[in-house]
Symmetry: C2
Subunit: 325 residues, 2 copies
């Protein structure tokens, strides 16, 4: 009987609404090679998978061929870990109105095991294996991007829940009733409607309309303001932009105070574009948390920013699922 040698690499796929980034990752978390395709350039999932397999060929060849690859992990919006499916993902042209068995489709084409989870869970797994969450048993990862996602780790394990969809904290309702902002999910008042990149830009437009305060943001067309513009203005000391961060941080802090009652995490870890603002966003979050948290949770959790490089983190996180298969 021959000993089977451990295959040295896994593939990670970070599947975003815009780009699908493939990476080859080794056991130490080095991303050795990457390639990407445009997620939205394909009308059907079959076309997308075929293009993905083509994109993988050169980077797989670089590390010695598919025989060197143990497995593939995919991080995707609305990804279901138990079933390896993407379900009703609003931002995917070929995935928004049905259940796409993406893990199985890649597995059949590549002849390797393929696992899939939602993108925020993948980020949390990556953080646990390679980032600031190393050694932590209880933490909540909050991803602040186009949407607001989350990955919850309890007692060292990802929380997937009864159906694989646990950890959708971006859709906790923060403003109830008619006052709530409309959210991409079709409901109103969700955390995501306020604290995603588009939510932050919307807050800026609302603040510009409500006040006469001078602001660098008034030099632009209101409808063209992005969260990046808010960030640039805030970093220059723009008062209105700072107020936008104070508002956003206040809401995130209140949300974290609620989340603490659930799993009392050791840390809240933030990831994504908004964290580039550093203390400008983290200080309001922490102040708001400490003001609103239940007494027994005050002063306890750490508030951290992901230590992983943005571009690599999502691929790393996705690849980490591959090691566990």
């Amino acid at each position: 009987m021959e000993m089977q040698e451990q295959k040295p690499f896994v593939i990670g796929l970070d599947l975003g609404g815009t780009n699908a980034v493939f990476g080859i990752v080794d056991q130490r978390g080095q991303v050795l090679a990457t390639n990407s395709i445009k997620t939205g350039a394909y009308k059907t999932v079959d076309d997308f998978v075929a293009a993905g397999v083509e994109a993988l060929k050169p980077i797989v060849a670089k590390v010695g061929g598919i025989g060197q690859i143990k497995a593939m992990g995919i991080g995707a919006p609305n990804g279901n870990f138990y079933r390896g499916t993407i379900e009703f993902a609003p931002n995917l042209a070929w995935g928004h109105d049905g259940v796409v068995p993406l893990a199985e489709m890649f597995s059949k084409k590549l002849n390797i095991p393929v696992g899939l989870t939602n993108d925020a869970n993948a980020a949390a797994i990556g953080e646990m294996q390679y980032g600031v969450a190393r050694g932590m048993k209880n933490f909540i990862m909050i991803t602040l991007g186009t949407g607001v996602g989350s990955g919850i780790v309890v007692d060292g394990k990802m929380v997937y829940g009864s159906d694989g969809f646990a950890g959708e904290l971006g859709h906790v309702v923060m403003v109830r009733g008619e006052e709530g902002r409309s959210c991409g999910c079709g409901r109103t008042g969700c955390l995501e409607a306020y604290c995603s990149a588009t939510g932050v830009a919307r807050t800026a437009r609302e603040f510009l309309e409500k006040s006469d305060e001078p602001s660098l943001l008034r030099d632009m067309k209101a409808e063209e303001i992005t969260s990046l513009d808010v960030s640039i203005a805030a970093s220059k000391g723009d008062k209105l932009a700072l107020e936008v961060y104070a508002f956003t941080g206040d809401m995130l802090g209140q949300a974290c105070a609620d989340f603490a009652t659930f799993s009392s995490p050791e840390a809240f870890i933030f990831f994504g574009g908004l964290t580039k603002a550093g203390d400008l966003i983290m200080k309001p979050i922490i102040e708001s948390y400490e003001k609103h948290a239940l007494k027994i949770f005050k002063g306890k959790p750490k508030f951290l920013i992901s230590s992983l490089d943005d571009a690599a983190a999502a691929v790393l996180g996705a690849s980490a699922i591959g090691w566990e298969l």
Copy 2:
């Protein structure tokens, strides 16, 4: 070497603000004997423990003496599983402003292992071992009593969090800002302020004041109305009392819609006095949940009432901790 025989019984202590109920439980979940003392009749925790040990003597003797007892489990407000302590419990005269190492104190007096957790966690463990949650891996227990408590089970395990205090869902904020009702925790707008027994009575008083609607509850002094009175009136078809249940259920349903985003449980299980109203409270909860839940969580979780006898459930739950020690 002699085989050590498994001791056949455990002690369960359901420690409430009013009564402390001790029970002897066998491996099939039969409560063989109980005794109780008044929690508040003792000025110090030493006096309380001494009285507890006295109360245990006759019931322990009934089953053959302390040699037959494997361990003791305690369910207590603000109980900490990791440390075996009760911490800042507002309703305990001898426990409200400090950390009481109750598990250790009983253990020293009785010479058996003693474990402790909060009362809602104990109820969840009891439900998992003996009740409607048998075989479930993911569920949330919500206790509707003097307060609103919760016990969260993920992947077959109690969620204790980083510090042993996870699962305080009664203190998720449902009404933000100045409108929120004051809560016993010192903050405002908590679920508990609306959906506990006192919360329900308060809603009834508010509704009586706001409207001219005839109601059986108008025959009583407003300040003397309890949740039991609301329940009796509702069961007679009293319209205002039914509106109180509709309001309470609506809020619980919205809360459950938020909780689903966290751990996507297979079931929400309700326990406590308010559940005596049966469909009068469960129907509004389910309707509200289905109206407010995120699409992927609609129609999924079961909404159940605990199948355990009230009096026994808390003791059983507490005793279940004993088996795990």
